[in-house]
């Protein structure tokens, strides 16, 4: 592989995005959980809920700080590293990012200061309302960012004019089904992550039999939240696959390692694809007709195989396949764990095995979230805008050395920030809440 500005820019974007998305999901979900806790405090005046708000709120703030600063670079990287892409899509993609900043990001960032420092300046209810607004604005941010990404996945509402994609139908861009599915999928995944985060830390303290009331209540709030959104995710995931089959058949074929176009296409639970020889070296546990059924709602439906697409229009098969199947397996694991949790919710302290599993499960939704983005972005290759512009035509005409230096700087700075951030979160989480 040639090391040039293209590959370095791709690595830099991947590093910056993966890192940013280690923090975004928890911001999305924990803001809601903290808002729920604070509302309970505002309604009942129960001091335990105030302590819960402060304890989880502090973790939220550490996480939020890193999420914010790493988001800034992403918006500017399109211009610095992907200038040809930016010039080509700015008419549509740029406006979505600008709307995100004006309509959502502002609210979230302005109110975070009000929340931190406004305890004595606002009434209890107003202060709780501020956290709801922060949560709402974060989710609204996600709406616009995901509409923008959806347009890269499935461009609509545009015309090719003046050598670029120009907007022709704003509503088509904003309300396309892909965007709605992607939003529900991503936000549910973020909420699941947050629920597992709160349940995992609560499990740690319950295992040590400390702050029992505090962490039992925290665990239960998160459990309900997690259970609802794992169910949403399973149903949505199915609709998502069917939409994908129609609109991005190369990604579907790659993530299923499906080479030959066929009817009654089976789904393999395990396979090792070989891209050179255009077949799977190993494929085991087929479920006959399952792929046809999932993708096209009929056992006998035809599903296009990778061989029907030119080699230079296929995404990396192994990464897509591994990312997809691991993500799905994790999704069912989350469902299992929340359902089990529901039946154990009144005897958490006795369920030590379950609590231990939940503690060690904290990283798993992080993995699932990152794998989801891996599938979304790697599975779209070689396109940066599916069917319209190739990634290899999109990067800036800049020297590879410049990008190389900034890539190293990104890895060092982000690595350091990540270590500090997670160290502080872990320390605070393990220390537990302040005394009543």
């Amino acid at each position: 592989m040639k090391v040039d500005a293209l590959i370095l820019s791709r690595l830099q974007f991947a590093a910056a995005t993966f890192f940013h998305f280690l923090f975004v999901p928890l911001t999305l979900g924990l803001s809601i959980l903290v808002a729920v806790m604070e509302t309970k405090y505002a309604r009942t005046g129960d001091n335990l809920y105030l302590r819960m708000t402060k304890f989880w709120g502090k973790i939220f703030l550490i996480n939020f700080a890193i999420g914010i600063v790493t988001g800034i670079t992403l918006e500017f990287q399109f211009g610095t590293n992907w200038s040809r892409y930016s010039a080509f899509v700015g008419d549509i993609f740029g406006s979505l990012l600008a709307i995100e900043a004006t309509a959502a990001f502002f609210l979230e960032s302005t109110l975070i200061g009000v929340w931190i420092f406004g305890w004595n300046k606002l009434s209890r209810k107003a202060h709780a309302a501020v956290m709801w607004l922060i949560a709402g604005a974060s989710t609204l941010s996600a709406v616009w960012i995901l509409i923008a990404n959806s347009w890269m996945q499935h461009p609509v509402g545009y015309v090719l004019r003046n050598g670029r994609a120009e907007l022709s139908d704003f509503a088509a861009v904003v309300f396309q089904p892909w965007a709605i599915l992607e939003f529900v999928h991503t936000v549910s995944a973020a909420y699941i992550l947050s629920a597992f985060f709160v349940m995992g830390i609560s499990a740690y303290h319950l295992l040590k039999r400390q702050h029992i009331e505090f962490f039992t209540r925290s665990f239960r709030i998160a459990l309900v939240f997690g259970l609802v959104f794992t169910l949403v995710e399973v149903v949505e995931g199915h609709l998502h696959g069917a939409d994908l089959a129609e609109k991005q058949p190369t990604k579907l074929a790659a993530m299923e390692a499906h080479w030959e176009t066929s009817t009654y296409a089976p789904k393999y639970l395990f396979a090792i694809p070989d891209e050179e020889q255009e077949r799977n070296l190993i494929q085991i546990m087929p479920i006959p007709g399952m792929l046809s059924l999932l993708a096209r709602h009929s056992l006998s439906a035809e599903v296009k195989g990778l061989k029907d697409f030119p080699r230079d229009e296929r995404p990396p098969v192994f990464i897509s396949f591994a990312a997809f199947n691991t993500m799905v397996a994790l999704g069912f694991y989350f469902l299992l764990m929340t359902v089990v949790g529901w039946f154990k919710r009144n005897k958490l302290l006795e369920s030590r095995g379950y609590l231990r599993l939940m503690l060690y499960s904290i990283p798993l939704p992080y993995l699932a979230n990152e794998l989801g983005w891996t599938l979304a972005e790697v599975g779209r290759q070689p396109w940066i805008v599916y069917g319209l512009m190739k990634t290899s035509d999109a990067h800036s005409p800049i020297a590879a050395s410049q990008v190389g230096i900034s890539l190293v700087a990104f890895i060092l700075v982000y690595g350091l920030i990540g270590i500090i951030g997670y160290y502080l979160m872990a320390r605070h989480a393990a220390k537990g809440p302040e005394a009543a």
């Binding site: 800034i72 200038s83 406006s95 990012l97 004006t102 302005t110 109110l111 200061g113």
Partner: protein, 342 residues
Amino acid sequence: MELASIWFFIWGLLWAIYFITDGFDLGIGILLPFLGKKEEERRTMLRAMGPLWNGNEVWLITAGGVTFAAFPMLYAVMFSSLYSALMLVLFGLIIRGVCVDLRAKANTNAWRRISDAGIFLGSLLPGILLGAAFANIFRGLPIDKEGIFHGSILTLLNPYGLLGGVLFLMFFLLHGSIWLSIKTQGELRVKAAATSAGLWVALLIAAVVFLISSAFATTLYDNYISRPGLGVVILIAVASILAIRFFLAKKAYWKAWFSCAISILASTFFGVIGLFPAMFPSSLNREWSLTAFNASSSPLTLKIMLIVAIIFVPIVLAYQIWAYGLFRHPVTEKEMASEDSY
């Protein structure tokens, strides 16, 4: 007026608001090691901007986002040409943000010292580099017909560019020290006020030298010569800088701060009006310059974005002004004792 022209001025306005709002936070960050000799002073300085700096920084995101949305070609050429400088600005802002937010989250002296250094550097770099970048845009940069940049970060380090960096720095420092004069009490306030008086002289010199140099290094004055009425912007810039001194002497710090805000706005518009319609002039051939007309989005996008801006910018301003109002009083010892944020 045409949509593209309207957007040109909104573009300038958004950058100006960014310089006004985040300007004083960056100034405070640079002043931290100089005015904050004691830990209590440093905590108070950070607390003075604490509730507001996060929201202020979003004006940069919005200015960047609007550049992308309304002038995609400019966004592409400007950000890739200024690659290394912009990366340094971003790393500066990242380090500043993390250090401000996490400074008090680990209770050790070593971590606080590292954070203070991070806040200082993370404020200094964006301050100087944004000034240098904009002065270089006023002056023109070597871009060819395809918008490909033929230079390096060293291209920015010419006398006029550096002067722009110094001018921005002086604005931010003064804006920050006046904010501290408003938001602190006692000894720290006395120090901040004295610093403001000194910085004002430095700003005045930098501004005068910049205005004169612009006549030689740029073509900014061409628009003012063809339409002398526009010169009122320069008058406002100068008058508001003089007003800062007047209000500082009367210890009317809010009025001094607003005068400083107006002087930043007018100074930004001195450049923006002088540039019009160019947005990124080419020093190789003026024909290759990016302008409001050849770099803009389609009329539909400009129209939709205008509606978005007309609805949301006033809403944003309204709740930001509300937040400023909520935190308008000087930081009290009671607050410092009861909070654990800084």
